[in-house]
Amino acid sequence: MTTQAAAQAANPQQAGAPGLDAAVRLGLYETMVLSRTYEEAILREYHADKGPGFDIGKGLIPGEMHLSAGQEPVAAGVCAHLTTDDAVTATHRPHHFAVAHGVDLRRMTAEIFGREDGLGRGRGGHMHLFDPDTHFSCSGIIAEGYPPALGQAFAFHRQGTDRIAVAVTGEGAANQGAFHESLNLAARWSLPVVFVVEDNDWGISVPRTASTSVASNADRAVAYGIPGERIESNDVEGVYDAARRAVARARAGEGPSLIEVHTLRLWGHFEGDAQGYRLDLADAPSHDPIPRYETLLREAGVLDDDAVARIRSAASERTEDAIAFAKNSPVPDAASATSYVFA
């Protein structure tokens, strides 16, 4: 970790740490606000029609829903260094990365609502979002998004470009075979990959301390011969800094790196999760990274009331537009249920 990042990590409330210019900081804040606004809207829509109790299969957005509130700094800090030519493979909790990477919000939302205009024509749903325009994909199987990212990186390199792949998992996934195989193979073949681990402390209900033999997956990276960094305190600028270096390494042909971020799962593992197992629950909102960053940027003179209102309003407008688009999109015809198996 650089001294600057270490200083910010140790003292996240410290305003005016030198390094990032205002435009970048504003961009990080805007991305996080858009992502949170989006998740709050999906939360609203998801629960609107599940009652009177909670019937998971009911409503306009049926099924499991894994929302990313609290984890915005990871997506914002990493995706700031990417273009839509770079690939991102995300997890069952994908929305913040999809938003930050520039996936079309309307088509993503239509997919979440299971509509014909969705990214997958309603076939995939919220855990299986595929956007070829931004090389974004996600998977519901823990850790299994890592291996395809290797392939995308391999192809980009073979095609003579400096495009990269970012592969995202959680800390629980770092105990799955695919994680270890992928780190070894990417390292051995020097693939242009950035591995991101979102340590939100919880593998559903099992805390990291109960599942993981090491204190930091950055230590595991070293075991595979690649650089690893752990960013504490959900610090968006720390993520931005580490990602800048990791992305540059990959683009320069220097191989993969791993960034682990100690982040925060503000809500349940899935919607409907009562989180009875979670002793820190009452405490969690006080660590919300967005108000904290807002405070920091206000103190640095990057944000004021007008700017905040403008940013929130824009986020809300884009989000509600996407939701309206989704709701107006047709429900897929049942007669087409067996289409699209083969090209």
């Binding site: 199987i141 890592y146 070894n184 193979l185 699209y340």
Partner: protein, 347 residues
């Protein structure tokens, strides 16, 4: 490039190849033609593939196109998927079909589902090759066929050639297909110098470029008394039995399925409509698999096509034993096939 039925009549001067060399010929032609084709797997480089799938390719195309991987099936099959998504045409080898357990998620939840989950927007033009089959005492974990399991899971085509000519044509088709294709080669049809081989594993292979259609079965021997529907090495055993029984005036029609997904149900129905008797021979496990699917095809369409109940000759639902006599008691070899055919024509 022509798309034809595989020429099946060898002429006296036809050039002969083993199945393994025919496969290599197809791969080499495609690698020459299309720079995005590459082959990866364990021991596929200088070793040439444990069962001869890549012999000579490393010398010809170099280590950037023929790539040895670590023992990391999940990672390298996933790598193939990602490369295919981004426009390359990988051929990825799973050394033994039996190893599917360590990497099945990438295969059936990713390779096979991405096209569908993306509403057809993302293609995965990848070939997954694998060696299968027993008969040389490699034991329960190294002798399985398992094509029924792959065929059962939606989203991937499954081809299983029995002859050198089909092996070449199906490999060409598989590489050119924009879908994931599982290409299963039985070790016993490869014509390897170090394993007892059926004489038909070395046979005429047309020169030049041709595709064998995926999803089309082939009547490899016509007959009027009974239909034997089969695949892979069992085709050769069925032909051995057919040749023997011809001497007794029993006409055995042998239908080589060649593909399990798509399954050529029309060919099955046409043959059984003609003969009225069905024996299915499958070296995969008996229950919940290919042989049941063939019988179900008849039962759902018109069970009255059958004059006698269908017979299934498959590996019973047991792990494959190691000791030679035990292994050969469970394999669907000529003796069991002949007994089943005799039973079905007797009534």
């Amino acid at each position: 490039m022509t798309i034809t039925e595989t020429p099946t009549t060898p002429t006296p001067q036809s050039r002969r190849l083993t199945t393994s060399k025919a496969i290599v010929e197809a791969i080499a032609f495609e690698m020459e033609r299309d720079p995005s084709v590459f082959y990866l797997g364990e021991d596929v480089g200088s070793y040439g593939g444990i069962f001869g799938s890549t012999g000579g390719l490393l010398d010809r195309f170099g280590k950037d196109r023929v790539i040895d991987t670590p023992i990391s099936e999940t990672a390298f099959i996933g790598l193939g998927i990602g490369a295919a998504v981004e426009g390359m045409r990988p051929i990825v080898e799973l050394m033994f079909a039996d190893f599917m357990g360590v990497c099945l998620d990438q295969i059936y939840n990713h390779m096979a589902k991405i096209h569908f989950e993306s509403g057809g927007n993302v293609k995965v033009p990848m070939v997954l090759t694998m060696a299968a089959g027993g008969g040389y005492s490699d034991g329960a974990q190294h002798s399985q066929c398992l094509w029924g399991t792959f065929a059962h899971l939606p989203g991937m085509k499954v081809v299983v050639p029995s002859t050198p000519a089909d092996a070449k044509g199906l490999m060409t088709s598989a590489i050119r297909d924009d879908n994931p294709v599982v290409y299963v080669f039985h070790k016993g049809v490869m014509g390897l110098p170090w394993m007892a081989k059926n004489p038909r594993s070395n046979d005429a292979v047309p020169e030049g470029d041709y595709e064998t259609p995926i999803g089309k079965a082939n009547v490899v021997r016509e007959g009027g008394d009974v239909t034997v529907v089969t695949i892979s090495l069992s085709v050769h055993h069925a032909l051995d039995v057919a040749e023997k029984l011809a001497g007794e005036g029993i006409g055995v029609e042998v239908l080589d399925l060649r593909s399990l997904v798509p399954l050529d149900r029309e060919a099955i129905l046409a043959s059984v409509a003609k003969t009225g008797r069905l024996v299915v021979v499958d070296e995969d496990y008996l229950s919940f698999g290919m042989s049941g699917e063939v019988v179900a095809t008849i039962a759902e369409h018109d069970p009255t096509l059958l004059k006698r109940p269908a017979e299934r000759v498959a590996v019973p639902d047991v792990p494959i034993p190691y000791a030679h006599a035990l292994e050969y008691a469970v394999l669907p070899r000529q003796d069991r096939i002949e007994a089943a055919v005799r039973r079905t024509v007797a009534g």
